[in-house]
Amino acid sequence: MIANANNDDVTPVRFRVKIKRQDGPGKPSYWETHQVEYEENMNVISVLQRIAANAKTADGKGVAPVAWDCGCLEEVCGSCTMVINGRVRQSCSALVAKLLRDQPDEITLEPMSKFPVERDLVVSRKRAFQALQKVKAWVPVDSYVDMGAGEKQSRADQEKSYPLSQCMTCGCCLEA
């Protein structure tokens, strides 16, 4: 890591990103290292965006861009889950400055291990959605015609169910 001395905080000029890649389902995986220029407020998504725009390994070899999933970029959709520095999490809220503080040399990115890999960091989480079907996770209303309001609910009950209802089926919990 090449560092800029900027007040107390040490921010790098550029840093290395080691990515576990796989060309398709059932294909062997391999590690590849990229080098990315540091920008302020960078998260892992913007790192992958820079790699997509200029797909070269750290030693300058042109490669196919790394495939990954993302959506809302604010941690409410559950798309961009991956294993970052050995820990499963959403990549949008993984800030580079913090990651480098914990592990200064490089950032490692891997796909989640409990789902089949489609390519690189993209996995298929179909089975999680199928499970929701299996347990019949829905309210069996009579119809969608106007029948007036639902039942009254206490604030305490709402405060219990709301956090549960925020599960975004990202699959993190299977990896942890």
Partner: protein
Amino acid sequence: MANEKVVVVGGGLAGLSATMKLCELGANVDLVSLVPVKRSHSVCAQGGINSCNDQTRQIGDSEWSHLDDTVYGGDFLNNQPPVKEMAYWAPKVIDLMDRLGVTFNRTHEGFLDRRRFGGTLYKRTAFAGATTGQQLLYALDEQVRRWEAAGKVNKFEAWDFLGPMLDDNGTCRGCIAQNLNTMEIRSFPADAVVVASGGPGLIYGRSTMSVMCNGSAASRIAKAGVKYANGEFIQVHPTAIPGADKLRLMSESARGEGGRVWVPRKGQDPRDPKSIPESDRYYFLEERYPEYGNLVPRDIATREIFDICVNEGLSVEAGRQCVYLDLTHIPRAELDRKLGGIMEIYEKFQGVDPRDVPMKIFPAVHYSMGGVWVDFEKSSDGGLVAGSPRNQQTNVPGLFAIGECDYQYHGANRLGANSLLSCIFSGLFTAPGVLNYLSSSKGLGEDKTTSLCNDEIAKHKERHESLLSQTGGENPYMIHRELGDVMTKAATVVRRNEQLEKAYETVCDLAERANKSSLADTGSWTNQNVVFTKSLIDMFPLAKALVKGALQRDECRGAHYKPDFAMPPLQSTDDAGRRQEAEKWCDKFQANIDKWLKTTVADLTTGEPKITYEAIDTSSIPPRPRLYGLVGAEVIDEVWKERQRKAAVGNATGEKSPQPVA
């Protein structure tokens, strides 16, 4: 009527509500979506969903005033029958979502809690913390899964809609889509297609929208002949957190729950904001708009924040434009209960606790009021005819559009918490019309369908292959960056013709360069490179429609603000002088209505948008000046009302109205 096949494109609030209602009515649905539907952009909606309700009714609110706020906030560019129908359905929509198990916040007694949003004086907004969109989407996702289990829905998630299939008569007979992993291109023959593909935020590079909001489905149907309307009306949300990859929304509910926007009276005051005394703080929205305060409509809040930073030099920081959005006077427990979701977003991405320190925010592109042109059938009471196939149908028979990708509900500026409503409403309301369309239309027959499918698949395969093999040397990601820069500079908060003219040229150049993209990935599995390049190429028709529409529209209306054509405040200080000025002001206002109170309709079938204008149905509420905070507002209002009364008397006695409205 049962068992007809409908394709729904997009699985956000609009697509899912349409799907479940279509299934209930007996249709089978193929649901095509770029992402697993549970991850659609609707999850990002934070603040809530509007309806007149028992609490507001008792202090004078009604569905009619919800309609009035919506069209006044939208600067009368909305066709009123769909808005009226939506406002009257709103309480029913929220009741249904309540029955579907949405975890709306509750009052102590267990009723739905409500908060106030911009552009209204009533607490109309039901909410589930600060993740209302996510909660509504999950409830609909569950219902669609229920129909999936019943065999009525087939989901095609991670499929990219490539275009509609039109027969020789120009009737829609299904669509073509491509799998994002296997890259398979296949046909989805159907008796009707409902496009619910959301907004085109990616045209601006960074916005508050999710990465799949690229506008490609809207662009692809427009290329096939569907008209595109009011493209120039883009909402720039007043409060977002600037980021390298995205501008993250900071919900209007922050202000709805008492958040205050301010800057130090001295620009770039180095003091800790908490230590700056009240007398040194400029609560500019509250001072300039005493009635609505921090909850003026979005276009106005955005312009004021922009003005404070850009023209008055009062940005909080020197190197970056931003103002304070302050919640620190609200108890932590209340913030957690009502705004937890957005508190966390700020904390996660800025590393600062907004319960302790005022947030730093700036406006960001957020929503497209414009979109795919759709029809409606007006009822005798000024709403819509239920079950009419004309509702939400585009000019291509059999092709419908709903949700953010249509242009119908929000006019020149959308009110906060009306989008979730318009999405769910348009989905539910359209389904019976689609079914009625199916029962009145004739099928194409097996042979013709097969040959249509084969031809269309071949066409799209050929395009795919040629993109993979071409070597023009351009980098699609860099072109996208440039597009975002030029659009953000020229076509957001303040618009000037010379900038728009230049921007149009730049966009045309970029469009040509995008066609010469070389792909870094030429593979045939999860090739995100080629999918992105296709979407980039399809951003240009919409970008051109947007810039050209903005260039041609020489007026200020809602989010479309051209200072060179602004209506001035009154200058005179004495009553007689003011009155005289107000008369002139109203003459000018009327002349502007006659010229510009029209829907912009773009034909995008060739590379160049062809723009025409269409009359607007203002049959419920006659247009009136939008006077939030304007100097001389009372006098103008008085003069305008007198004119309206005279016109009404004139109409009643059979004279020709001096003020034709729509």
